[in-house]
Symmetry: C2
Subunit: 778 residues, 2 copies
């Protein structure tokens, strides 16, 4: 199931590859990547291997290479390559006799360690160990070291070459308009690569810690610079080099002098010291979002830690001008773009652990408002229509056409950017969650209201009146499930649109009463007073599909009348994602009851109290049987939904699958980056699903449904500004605040009401159904 081994040892938690594994190379480069939210460096071997795709991706370093290409996250210069020659022999895992090879990622610190034992042609054995990490203490620093040890000891000559290689491309597409190289004080190598409206600067210095340097030279190539050194090992047959790199972008405003000083200081401090400081920051992170489950296997624990490590690695802690990409900073996949799932799958874990950072993600959307307004206008709508794919500016980045159909030569239109409206409601859902959980009035005044009002206006403007039904509907769109296109009244979309408008209306009414200054400013800007009636009418008359006589909420107007896909089990089991598209055309798929991921299940996760538990169960089971789970978001969403209704067998099965999306034994998956949202989904599934946490209307709901094998769950959430420690067992729920809390919180545990004032222990009847009410439309 899980491709990697695990090992806990000396405060480390290793995910390990115990042999040289070329078939998994591209996957492991993504999975083991060093990321700190500013930079992500793929975990390629230091030595050349046949199948590799080295990559460094920087938060916000986007570029569009040509008119016919889209804006993408640039594959920045490589820092990780080391050329090694011993006794005239070039050393590579494939070209040299390799006795053993281990590559492992410390899930706690994010450090990568790769070690090889080679046997040279002469019979001499040489051990090589490479370590590296992207510092959480100084996000611009990337540290590496390379240790070489001859098993027979004694003095040996070694040639080492390493540097900065700007010849990397995004699958053959180059982005740097020019790349200038420098060497400072015959120590520090620099490359500055110019993008269309940004520049990436990389400054590296090598220090030779063990062995004697016989000679060293700097070699300039096209878009690359390398230091080439000849070393002699010390008497114990050892040599070691540390390489410290500082990476920044022109917009970071770091002066040349500061960069050089930072590298000089870091080189002086050395790898081990830098690592200790970094590891301390990583410990703080792990403490803040600590999540312990007594009763899960070491593998499962590793998978949870893996998700937390990468959430740390993909989150732009330092800026509100970028958000989280579908592959984080681990690969070229999805071009580094930001989708709806950032708000729905990743945002929650940050909201409850790092609310200030969660706020930044929403601020990113605020800075994209003008782009969203342009998009709405260009499609004949008003308000703000958020981009399906965002990069940095907030403009829509989804290409209008995909690559030509290779058989017909016709361009396939990409409908997601045009028709997948729901992102505009998803953002407001996240925004309202943020407001409820943090009560951050400053955010709302500056950014939140404006986003919500503009989003609501979009929905009001795109709904169409149906004279027959005397209802508003939303027509010809795509819901989250992309196997059904051009459908009408997608349940997910209509409910989310209603939620968005309802939320905006409530905000507007509140500020008109209570914050007249804010109201006045926004009214002047957006004509709020004219919008009230529109919103009211929309909410009164929007069509919201209710459960049919079987209890099923129809996914859209026609879904339930379509035929089933008979051999769906074949595709559910396939290791190849979207294998169904090899057997059926997209048009055929659209005309069947077959789903990539289930919209209604997702909807019920977002509104756990919308319908009765019994109906939830019916809907989840109905839609799951029609879902191939070809989206990496599907398993975690289903796990959460099933856990919430106590369907534990299904919940555990889906949870197990969602845990290994990136680390299972499928070598063809995750090759172009990890699945960010799915990792967020693991947290949602644990906290919202198994622990049954829901916070709404000032009430903290806790309705745990833990697998039988779990003894307890322990985690920390920040709610209404209060960090609360949760401890949940099969029969008890404990809440504890580490500090004096400023105001009491109403809590509903398993349907019983409590007031939390700093310490609470409850032993509710876990089987009792919690109270349910419809939050979606009043």
């Amino acid at each position: 199931m899980i491709h990697y081994d695990t090992e806990k040892q000396n405060g480390r938690f290793w995910l390990k590859e115990n042999e040289f594994c070329p078939r998994f190379e591209l996957k492991t480069e993504s999975v083991f990547a060093q990321c700190n939210g500013y930079m992500g460096v793929r975990a390629a071997h230091p030595l050349s291997v046949l199948e590799e795709n080295r990559g460094m991706f920087l938060c916000g370093a986007f570029d569009r290479a040509y008119e016919d290409e889209v804006t993408e996250l640039v594959n920045c210069p490589d820092l990780t390559w080391f050329g090694l020659e011993i006794e005239g022999e070039a050393i590579h895992p494939e070209g040299t006799k390799l006795l053993s090879c281990t590559r492992k990622l410390d899930l706690f610190s994010g450090e990568l360690q790769i070690s090889y034992l080679f046997e040279l042609k002469s019979g001499t054995k040489v051990q090589i160990i490479n370590r590296r990490f992207a510092s959480k203490d100084d996000i611009h620093l990337f540290a590496q070291d390379l240790q070489i040890k001859f098993s027979d000891g004694g003095r040996h000559e070694i040639s080492i070459k390493t540097g900065i290689n700007g010849q990397r491309t995004n699958s053959g597409v180059s982005h740097f308009r020019k790349a200038d190289c420098r060497v400072y004080e015959r120590r520090q190598m620099e490359m500055r690569g110019e993008l269309s409206d940004n520049a990436v600067t990389v400054l590296s210095e090598c220090s030779f810690r063990k062995g004697d340097v016989l000679s060293t030279d700097f070699v300039l190539g096209r878009r690359c610079i390398h230091e080439s050194a000849v070393l002699c090992t010390d008497e114990d047959g050892e040599a070691a080099v540390e390489k410290i790199t500082y990476v920044c972008q022109s917009e970071d405003g770091v002066s040349q002098e500061s960069r050089k000083t930072a590298v000089t200081r870091a080189v002086r401090e050395g790898y081990d010291h830098l690592f200790r400081v970094h590891a301390a920051s990583m410990n703080e992170y792990r403490d803040t979002c600590s999540l312990r489950i007594d009763g899960i296997s070491e593998e499962e624990e590793a998978a949870v830690c893996f998700a937390q490590y990468h959430i740390q690695g993909m989150t732009p802690w330092h800026t509100n001008r970028s958000s989280i990409a579908a592959k984080g900073l681990t690969g070229e996949g999805y071009k580094g773009h930001v989708f709806w799932d950032t708000e729905l799958f990743i945002f929650p874990s940050l909201l409850f652990t790092y609310p200030k950072t969660a706020r930044k993600l929403l601020e990113f959307r605020y800075y994209g408002l003008d782009g969203a307004r342009n998009k709405a206008r260009s499609y004949g709508f008003s308000g703000a229509m958020f981009p399906w794919e965002a990069a940095k500016s907030g403009e829509e980045e989804t290409p209008l056409y995909a690559a030509l159909n290779i058989y017909t030569g016709k361009a396939n239109k990409v409908w997601s950017g045009i028709k997948e409206y729901h992102v505009t409601a998803d953002i407001v859902y996240a925004l309202n969650q943020y407001y409820e959980v943090t009560e951050d009035q400053d955010f709302m005044d500056r950014y939140g209201y404006e986003i919500a009002f503009e989003a609501a206006q979009f929905w009001a403007s795109c709904a169409k009146w149906d004279e027959d039904h005397k209802k508003y509907g939303i027509y010809d769109i795509i819901g989250p499930d992309e196997y059904t296109e051009h459908i009408d009244n997608n349940a997910y979309t209509n409910y989310m649109a209603a939620y968005c408008v309802k939320t905006a209306k409530k905000y507007a009414e509140n500020i008109r009463q209570e914050r007249p200054d804010v109201y006045k400013r926004l009214d002047q800007m957006l004509n709020l007073h004219e919008r009230f009636d529109t919103w009211k009418e929309f909410l009164e008359l929007i069509y919201l599909p209710v459960p049919d006589n079987q209890g099923i909420i129809p996914q859209d107007d026609t879904f339930l009348s379509k035929p089933l896909l008979k051999n769906i089990e074949k595709y559910k089991k396939s290791q190849v994602k979207q294998a169904v598209l090899l057997d059926y055309s997209r048009d055929e798929i659209v005309d069947m009851q077959v789903l990539k991921q289930a919209d209604v299940v997702m909807l019920l996760n977002l509104f756990p109290h919308m319908i009765s538990e019994d109906l939830v169960r019916k809907n989840v089971l109905f839609y799951e049987s029609r879902t191939i789970h070809d989206s990496s978001l599907s398993y975690c969403a289903h796990a959460q939904a099933c856990a919430a209704i106590g369907a534990m067998d299904l919940a555990e099965d889906f949870f197990a699958k969602s845990l290994v999306i990136d680390i299972d034994d499928n070598p063809y998956d995750s090759t172009d980056g990890i699945h960010s949202a799915s990792l967020g989904g693991v947290w949602n599934c644990l906290i919202f699903g198994f622990a049954g946490i829901h916070y709404e209307g000032g009430i903290l709901y806790v309705q745990p449904h833990m697998p039988e094998s779990w003894k307890s769950m322990e985690f920390k959430l920040e709610i209404a500004g209060e960090p609360i420690r949760f401890y949940i067992t099969s029969d008890k729920v404990s809440l504890l605040s580490e500090t004096d809390i400023s105001h009491p919180i109403n809590v509903n545990i398993g349907g019983q009401e409590y007031v939390f004032t700093g310490r609470l222990e409850a032993e509710p009847d876990m089987e009792r159904e919690s109270s349910r009410f419809n939050v979606a439309v009043s």
Copy 2:
């Protein structure tokens, strides 16, 4: 000395690499490349290897990627890669147990054959043979086949993947604005890559000749398309696939239908048939430029054949809109640009064997006249100043600045494009040779006169009057020897300028008398009548350095007064080219008597009758002792000069060195392409040096100086429209025309005069000094 083995067998002449040799990979890819004058495909392994640089270069396919880059020959999509998986094992020379490996180039046909014997993990042995050639019969066709044979026979399953990969870049710089892929009739894969003002289309079809196809599929990637097939070997354990590719550029005007038809037909005919037709064309070529030396070793013969193969491969037989690049079509070196050495080192062999093709090279310069006029104007001169580096348009392509100095951060100015004037005389030298040898009046009327007049005008305009000496001089320039910059009155340049102006003046006088229509047209265009006096004055007063009291022609005004480089022998012996620049700055080099190549020696090659044989000898020996031979043009020029004066020990030594410029055991040379001009120099050295051929003023001079070990030289030259077969032994020179000749030719053999009317045998006193006269300034 020579890195490769040689083998003659069944009408083939193989240059061979008998083992897998990663250190020589980049060199061998260049040296063994398949080239037909339209395309050049580097001889990379079909299977992936660690250190490789696949490349296909098309004549005329230039592009400039960014404002700060120069126009360069684009590394086009790769066709040569094959992915092979047997028994779930990916097969690579480095990743799989390799029992043997041979890669060899047939110097006669240009076919490449690579064979491997692998042992799989299961112990099964598999032989793989890959063959390929670039067709001389249809220059757009590239044919490959791949044969797989299991030593234990029987049926085995094999996965094969191959296609068109447009992810190749020029050292990290991409050129295709977009790259669209298609599949026609589920057989033919196509990629069309758009350049700024051109497009490259590649169409490939695989046919599976042996074994059963179990499945086949086409897979689209970013800028690449591949066919992925699963085969089962036949009962003998064999499978085979042929891959036929058609490559063209938009400017070739080949319709989609013709491309598809050409591939369909070629696939039907099959590799072996296509090869036979191709080989017949190659035989014709070898017959036309046949050159046999009785008495040289097989290695030396291989080197001569190697030169002839690559001259065939680099020459644009099909067009007058491109010329010959410094690396032909074999690599990225020198960006595919055309320099002066095309006219002086490669042009002669074409002139005497394929005069119509030689004419095309001159027509290329004619189409560059406007660019040359612009360049002259921009530097304040008149007439035409030809570019130091030309690509396609004839505009100057030399960048104004090289990469930043990595230590100072300052840009180094590239002076060659500004100061290396001599190319403008070199072209006229070639032009006049062409006119003398072919008597092609049509060429002169259309193109030749105009080039010569504009070049002469440039020289007259750039010479400066020196009041002290009452002479014109040419100041602050660079001669062919680039280790002396910013010098005055470079002997090579002044003599060549004088020759250019003298030639133009003579042309103008002739046409005024004899071709009044042509004169009138050119006079109207160029104001010829005003130029006469300028040219006359220039010729009367240009400073032409004469031998000093030691008999040495000073290379420039200050050269002889500079100190010697004391340890020059160190650099002469160094395997690393330009090693002297590692120890001395360029400024220091300029201030010493040290040469990259010797200008005066080159000058004496061009004007063999300029000074007495004794003075030639003195000058050659004097300058050779100051020359590091860091230019690949230096050995052949010195060999030619020494042979011409009968300094046979030196001549043989330099000749041996010039033969192996690309094929010696230096792995770091020729990695980015073969040395085109040096290969031309081998021919010059043989024909002009050892055979002592010189044709001038309607007289064919033959003054052989053959090494003692040579029994005879036999070759064919076309002179004044007559193909003449030469047979030279130590005591006899025979000339024979295969057809009736139209008019007799005056011949001077070893100083004795003859008239050739179709058959001539002479036994001159080879030791007698031939008559000498100054052709440079009359």
